[in-house]
Amino acid sequence: MSPTTLLATLLALSSLAYFLGRRRALAVAGTPGKLKTLHSRPTYYGALTAIWCGIPALILFGFWLAFESNIITSLVVADLPENLRSLPPDRLNLILNDIKNLVSGNIVSGRIDPTMQAAADHYRQLLVISHAALAVVAITLAIAAALIVRFKITPKLRARNQVEKITTVILIFCSTIAIFTTIGIVLSVLYEAIRFFQKIPVWEFLFGLKWSPQMAIRADQVGSSGAFGSVPVFVGTLLISGIAMLVAVPIGLMSAIFLSEYADRRFRSTAKPLMEILAGIPTVVYGFFAALVVAPLIRDAGTFLGLDVSSESALAAGLVMGIMIIPFVSSISDDVINAVPQSLRDGAYSLGATKSETIKQVVIPAALPGIVGGILLAISRAIGETMIVVMAAGLAANLTVNPLSAVTTVTVQIVTLLVGDQEFDSPKTLAAFALGLLLFVITLILNIIALHVVRKYREQYE
């Protein structure tokens, strides 16, 4: 039985158990008039039966599938001929990959090694056995649990309290997923990053001025020695984010000011959603726009002015990223400006200030902490933005602040290092995780500061 059918069966069984439990409750209550002898309403008995029928089996189902592939793989490895099993781990991984490809029917090479074919057959056989065993165990568990609960149903059973308790536990579990996600991110990135730092010293990574992650495959290979100094990558990231902020902050801030202070209701209700469209456009579309429309435009303009502009200039990527961030800056600034109490404005007007003077000298200074917080959030967003830079920025890590030349960014490097074929313990692949760790830490710090500042600011006027 395939996992999908099994899942459907379990859900069906669970809903069947609901009716079973409810009927049992009605039966033990006796005639309809005596319904009030039951502790809870009949539906709760049904729900209790359904929960006990479904949840243990589903938990088993989840764990089984999560660990199935690892266990089967190790079984298959244990069964491989000695000469294959003693291979170094990376070669063994390749062979395992080939076996898995054979299993899923993606034949990579025309000639199939008989031992591989045997291993693949073994794998497939184990998979079938595992699925069959899972189906038997899960369905038995579900039915047994449902029956046990059914026999336990008496008018005195506190079904509602039990259902509510279980529901609360589920609710608590769901709300902790956010914490597990964070822990998962930190652990997975940290683990690989530590392996990277065992090969490359931390200080070399943090302060090295040269980034060229191509490692030599043969010992005598010339040219690609592998250098992992992240400074040029970060300078490139900051350059592009800086350009983006130069575009986004003035435009976003000014439009927020206009919308919240000057615009009438009608203008506001049309212009605001239109600007928010900019925030809803997928980043890949911006990336395409940057690479295909903006970059050639800037290059042509540069040629016209006699400048030497790279076709993957930081300017194009930064400009488009800035456009993407405009609504982000403007909506946060809008919130913050609206939170400034009207009494401050009235005070300024009564001293004879014009509207713009009030805004410049009273409203903005009062809103400044919030605006700064919003800008910090926007910067963290710009640093972590991926698709625009992957499509429009370069790959070569040039240590430069010239916006017309090509630079690379952290996210571009992560993508290029991890997309495509990779071996899992070369410094090249691990470097991506080290960059990811740095990216996570930087954006985390920016976010924490920004959220703190914004929250503090809101409290100030509440």
Partner: protein, 433 residues
């Protein structure tokens, strides 16, 4: 006494009265006011200009892709080539070649012939194969068949190649142009609606590539995301808003959720790669893994929206329910949740729209592979619409630019529909208490 009251009638020439200073500065201040206002309007106009420029440039590049060029050939379904015992594996491209040679009998020489055969897409043979397999009676007949032209021909017909440019600078040579012009004179070249684009999977040949595979992949991925993130998001919002005590632990959860909402999406991809692929050994490129990663990514959005929606339900509703003897859980499930649900759904749709447009984390878990087949299940290798756009945008052929823009238009159309649904939902069910 006189000393102090003397300046009451100060000489006009001196003009040190404040009101005069103010009056004199007024024009300057009004000008500054106007300027400031103008900056504001300018900023809004500029961003709307960017928006329309983006839409116009994409629509302008993309709309021709909804049509493609077909060439009419008189195909003789030669019984010698199509032997009954091997219909599925017969050499159908030979039929196309023979027909082309008959249309242009004056073409000799291997090089010229190759150029001639290059006018027609390799998909033509598949079309003939399907025709024969569907109706074997056509064997032995000569029928006019409209076959797909090669992408270079397509580009030429759509006017993207300059016919007058030097021969070395275009992808299509003088002979080919002459043949095409003859076909055009015979009305054997036509632009028709590009059905392949909506029904096919990816392909290396632009004229055979379509977005259906990516659309199905996106759909499967979104189903996983929706099925997981909506219940989990709503459940955690309910716990945090209705049940959780105010303590350090819930504070930690809150800070965590707010932070996760701002973590770069690519980091979620790294998580997916390290945990789902390497630790749990789930299949690469599968919508299942994509859905899991996107679930973790959209959860904070949904939780935040759901909490806002729960907050907007007035406490009097809860008090009334508790007052008539409902338990806390019954209050929430029977009264608060139904009232908050429209807001939660709106938040979820917006989260789904964002997940639909997301591509960076999916690159990390291998959904960038070149996949021709339409995925049939949650563990089949698949790609999604935005990643398909990324893949095509990287392809060198001119025709892929058009396809990329067209795929972008389709993606944007989906997003507009989803966001419009969210807006309608909000308008219809929004309640002011």
């Amino acid at each position: 006494m006189n000393k102090t009251s003397k300046p009451a009638a100060a000489p006009a020439a001196d003009s040190t009265r404040t009101i005069d200073l103010v009056n004199r500065s007024l024009p300057r201040r009004y000008r500054a006011e106007k300027r400031f206002r103008f900056y504001g309007i300018g900023a809004i106009a500029l961003s709307l200009l960017f928006l329309s420029f983006l839409f116009i440039s994409i629509a302008g590049k993309g709309y021709p892709a909804f049509q493609k060029t077909f060439i009419e050939l008189n195909i003789y379904f030669d019984p010698d080539v199509l032997r009954q015992d091997a219909l599925a594996t017969a050499d159908y491209s030979k039929l196309v070649k023979t027909s082309l040679s008959q249309t242009f009998p004056d073409v000799t020489g291997r090089r010229d012939k190759r150029d001639l055969y290059g006018l027609v897409s390799s998909g033509a043979a598949f079309k003939l194969r399907n025709m024969v397999l569907k109706d074997p009676d056509v064997i032995g007949q000569t029928l006019p068949v409209w076959v797909t032209a090669n992408d270079d021909v397509d580009m030429l017909i759509k006017g993207h190649f300059d016919r007058t440019a030097a021969e070395g600078e275009r992808r299509i040579n003088d002979n080919q142009i002459a043949w095409i012009e003859r076909l055009e004179k015979d009305n054997r070249i036509e632009k028709r609606f590009n059905r392949t684009f909506f029904t096919a999977g990816d392909s290396r040949e632009p004229e055979l590539a379509g977005i259906w595979g990516a659309t199905v992949g996106s759909f499967l991925t979104l189903i996983i995301t929706l099925v997981l993130s909506f219940p989990i998001g709503v459940a955690s919002a309910i716990y945090l808003e209705e049940f959780a005590p105010q303590n350090r632990w819930t504070d930690l959860i809150e800070v965590n959720i707010n932070n996760l909402a701002a973590v770069p999406s690519i980091v979620f991809g790294l998580l997916g790669l390290a945990v789902f692929l390497n630790f749990f050994g789930l299949p690469r490129s599968a919508p299942l893994v994509g859905g899991l990663v996107l679930t973790l990514m959209t959860l904070p959005t949904i939780i935040i929206a759901s909490r806002a929606s729960l907050q907007s339900v007035p406490p009097s509703i809860r008090e009334a329910a508790l007052g008539v003897g409902a338990s806390k859980m019954q209050t929430v499930a029977h009264h608060v949740l139904p009232l908050a649900l429209p807001g939660m759904l709106t938040g979820t749709i917006i989260g789904m729209a964002r997940a639909l447009g997301e591509s960076a984390p999916l690159l990390m878990i291998g959904m960038v592979a070149f996949i021709v087949d339409i995925p049939r299940g949650f563990t089949d290798p698949a790609t999604v619409l935005p990643v398909q756009i990324y893949l095509w945008a990287d392809s060198p052929e001119r025709a892929f630019v058009e396809l990329t823009s067209a795929a972008t238009m389709v993606l944007l159309a989906f997003l507009i529909v989803m966001n419009a649904a969210a807006v309608i939902l909000r308008r219809r069910f929004e309640r002011r208490w």
